[in-house]
């Protein structure tokens, strides 16, 4: 696994080689220019890269990757850097490849309902550009103002509407990638399927380990005719969990079905004054969309289901404006929690819905044991939890305790039949929990896939899939201490 060794790479020589095909202003090498790239949105992990490049053509990217391949230089691709798992954390001996300049919408085909875009196009910019045709791009991660489509594909991003509309993998049709050897490869098709293996699925969520995405053709959907939002309050969080199951078993698939617990409700209410019932133990937000008749019918049905499942109050938005107000607190939940705690650590596990009450109860107990408060905001419809662990980085040891608490939560998710990451990715953050979720032979299969694409292990080395050595070490130490003693050490 030591193909990535680049001892002796001379930064000046590298710059000269890059200047053969890159303009001088596309190469950053001064510490003050590299600083903005030292982390993504998981800022607890920081690392300065050797060099940053900002190409603006596919040919330049081919040149960069060919050079890296030739001189065995690690490459980390980066979109907007909004990732929450350290997936875009630079490699200290490597090149950071920013795709930010490739930000054009190449073509919109309203007849086929597709848009062909460069990887640096922002998620929300796609929906904005196609709104004139009555269309939208469905996956809507909360960072959609800033995050880019290339990063969305790399992480298989979700959002609040994936219960009904699916994840990124369900909403893209074709991508172009450049392999580490510099080959431009088209994956997918203009039709609805393609010959050969489903490499589109394999690339989606592969966290920059298999190739560099240089173009994405996304599928667009017609905007629903009508949207309605309901807000229900509960005095017991398990009743809210039951209500979720009741809605699903009634054959209704809401566009969004979100839950917040007491601490999150109070923080959001203090911040944006959405009129939330602050005494409630939990609230559910249910968004229904479709034709007017469909929405009206489902609204009546959901209201009745919520009342029957013991909601203390059910509100139906009178108009679109009030619907937005209901959502305002949910959308502002993370910054709202940021106001009541100096720092918070956002987790991302998914569990089978039936275990919701049990998991919430266990997390509450863990919170007491760890002496750290926890606010819960999550995609209840698909069981994707986002517990926010509140801590203060200025208090020695609290970050460490928050991380330990987070690891316990992820292991709890695995124990109830879930997964350590629903939509944020493994990155650097959850490598140890990958050792818990997967057997050694499964991780070995992942490494074999990686080697099929990138035999020299130059693309985003050390991320997403832990080395077997790391797992062996983590496994042994996990039993004794529950935590690696030197997480900063390179163990790949």
């Amino acid at each position: 696994m030591s193909h990535t060794s680049v001892e002796g790479v001379n930064r000046q020589q590298l710059i000269q080689q890059l200047q053969d095909f890159l303009p001088a202003d596309a190469i950053l090498s001064q510490p003050e220019d590299l600083r903005p790239y030292e982390c993504d949105a998981l800022s607890a992990y920081r690392q300065m890269p050797l060099i940053v490049v900002l190409p603006d053509t596919t040919e330049q990217i081919q040149g960069i990757l060919r050079l890296c391949h030739k001189i065995n230089l690690p490459v980390v691709a980066r979109g907007a850097g909004t990732g929450l798992s350290g997936g875009a954390l630079p490699n200290e001996n490597g090149l950071l490849l920013s795709l930010a300049k490739l930000n054009s919408i190449i073509a919109i085909n309203s007849e086929l309902r597709t848009a062909r875009v460069q990887p640096g196009v922002r998620n929300l910019a796609i929906s904005q550009a196609v709104a004139q045709f009555g269309l939208f791009y469905a996956p809507d991660p909360s960072s959609q103002i800033a995050c880019t489509i290339g990063g969305n594909v790399a992480e298989n991003s979700g959002g609040v509407h994936c219960l009904k509309y699916g994840l990124t993998v369900h909403n893209i049709q074709q991508i172009k990638i450049i392999s580490i050897a510099g080959d431009l490869i088209t994956i997918g098709s203009t039709g609805l399927d393609c010959p050969g293996y489903d490499l589109l699925a394999l690339m989606t969520g592969s966290e920059g380990m298999l190739g560099v995405i240089v173009e994405v053709t996304v599928k667009l959907l017609p905007k629903p005719e009508c949207v309605q939002t309901l807000l229900a309050a509960f005095d017991d969080i398990s009743k809210a969990g039951t209500a979720v199951a009741d809605i699903i078993s009634a054959g209704i698939i809401p566009a969004g079905l979100e839950m917040m617990d007491k601490l999150a409700i109070q923080a959001a209410e203090d911040f944006v004054h959405a009129g939330y019932p602050v005494d409630a133990a939990a609230i559910l937000l249910c968004e229904l969309d479709g034709s007017e008749i469909e929405v009206a019918t489902h609204t009546d049905a959901v209201r009745e289901l919520l009342n029957n499942s013991g909601a203390t109050e059910v509100r139906t938005a009178k108009d679109a404006q009030q619907g937005l107000t209901f959502w305002k607190g949910r959308k502002a939940a993370f910054p709202a929690v940021g106001r009541i705690s100096p720092d918070y650590y956002c987790m991302d596990g998914t569990i089978p819905r039936k275990n919701l009450a049990r998991v919430l109860q266990t997390m509450a107990e863990m919170s007491q044991q760890n002496g750290l408060a926890i606010a819960n905001v999550f995609h209840a419809g698909d069981g994707n939890l986002h517990p926010l662990i509140l801590y203060d980085a200025n208090i020695p040891g609290e970050l460490k305790r928050a991380e330990e608490f987070g690891a316990q939560i992820l292991e709890l998710c695995i124990a109830v039949g879930g997964t350590i990451t629903g939509e944020h990715g493994v990155g650097m953050e959850k490598l140890n929990q990958m050792c818990v979720q997967f057997e050694t032979i499964e991780l070995a299969q992942f490494h074999a896939i990686k080697a099929a694409f990138d035999p020299k292990a130059l693309l985003n080395p050390g991320k997403a899939v832990p080395s077997l050595h790391r797992c062996a070490e983590f496994g042994a130490m996990h039993v004794h201490q529950g935590k690696l003693s030197h997480p900063e050490l390179e163990r790949f």
Partner: protein, 357 residues
């Protein structure tokens, strides 16, 4: 419900180990209802999953069913129907032996596909045996899961060339409350134009088919909503619509009963009408086109419009050599390396997809 509950993973692993040690090869088979599909495999022996049956878990409120590969689709459909749920991708059931494993191995999806997604879109997790006889699990039973590479979807459509699908967790959906099918007598050019106009609107279309100057549109959802949409779309209501769609999905419609070779074109839906001699049937809003023809492979594949997608020789009584469209060199090289990564001894379904692997 009398579904067999039988786990034969250990026997299969043992047989694979034996095959490796003897330097032999295997062809994977469950119900055998899709033996006609793909290139012919001349393996030393058959690895049969027909006995590997059973619904492992199904909880309607979780919207997930987990079943062994050899489970007949009809058993799965029946279990789901009892809870007013269904497989969203409406897979073809060619006969009563058609299994879940075969359906996933070929990513077989029916009339609902362009409107709700393909088999691969609903696969949440799989257990497989790779070419080293290792039993591996990927994905899971939850809707959102990005831990590790998406091997479950990679296995879907790989025609058993990467490994043996042992079981799978599939996302299921509620059955629509009501359905109607409307028929219009129009030309194909008019039909394609209308289909594209409708596809840009939020209409509850769940299937479309064009054959012999008749356009069939199925609407699914709440009764009032589909009636309203039906008024906008127009046309005569079709009686026995369920039987019609089943005949298209399962290919029992007279169009598919033929001695001619059957070609499948998967294209951008707005591809103009192809001028190829033979009988043609359209599905998927124009994105799937079937041609019954005696034209040679060369005569068909040289049509420029087919560059808008890809061509498959779906079934033929004659040679089944170049069934799937050739892959560009770098992509083919990647396929070979993936095959090597999963099946290093080269034992599974050699040549079923491409001669090279």
């Amino acid at each position: 419900m009398s579904v067999i509950d039988n786990d034969i993973s250990q026997q299969l692993q043992a047989k694979i180990l034996q095959t490796i040690s003897m330097g032999n090869s295997l062809t994977i088979k469950a119900g055998g209802s899709k033996d006609f599909y793909g290139r012919k495999v001349s393996a030393d022996s058959v690895l049969s999953l027909a006995q590997h049956q059973g619904i492992i878990s199904y909880e309607p409120t979780e919207l997930v069913i987990k079943a062994r590969a050899g489970t007949p689709l009809k058993d799965i459909q029946q279990a789901l129907a009892e809870n007013r749920q269904m497989l969203a991708f409406e897979p073809p059931v060619y006969n009563e032996k058609t299994t879940l494993g075969g359906t996933l191995a070929g990513n077989f999806s029916g009339p609902r596909r362009p409107y709700t997604g393909a088999a691969r879109d609903y696969v949440l997790g799989t257990t497989i045996i790779n070419g080293k006889a290792e039993l591996l699990s990927f994905g899971g039973e939850v809707m959102k899961n990005v831990a590790g590479y998406d091997v479950s979807r990679l296995m879907t459509g790989a025609l058993g060339t990467l490994g043996v699908i042992m079981d799978a967790s599939i996302k299921v959906v509620p059955m629509p409350e009501a359905e109607i099918t409307l028929v219009q007598s129009i030309t194909i050019a008019e039909a394609l134009a209308k289909l594209h106009q409708w596809s840009g609107l939020p209409l509850p279309i769940s299937a479309s088919c064009f054959y012999q100057n008749r356009l069939y549109i199925r609407l699914s959802g709440i009764e009032k909503a589909i009636n309203n949409a039906g008024q906008l779309i127009g046309g005569e209501q079709l009686n026995n619509a369920h039987e019609f769609w089943r005949s298209i999905c399962n290919q029992t419609h007279p169009f598919f009963q033929s001695q001619h070779a059957l070609w499948r074109f998967s294209l951008a839906s707005n591809t103009p009408v192809l001028s190829l001699t033979g009988d043609m049937l359209y599905e998927w809003g124009g994105a799937l086109r079937w041609l019954k023809s005696d034209l040679s492979s060369q005569e068909i594949r040289c049509n420029d419009l087919l560059l808008n997608g890809h061509t498959t020789l779906y079934s033929s009584n004659a040679q089944r050599d170049a069934v799937f469209q050739a892959l560009p060199a770098p992509l083919l090289a990647l396929h070979r390396r993936l095959k090597q990564a999963f099946d290093p001894h080269g034992i599974f379904n050699i040549g079923r997809m491409y001669a090279e692997f």
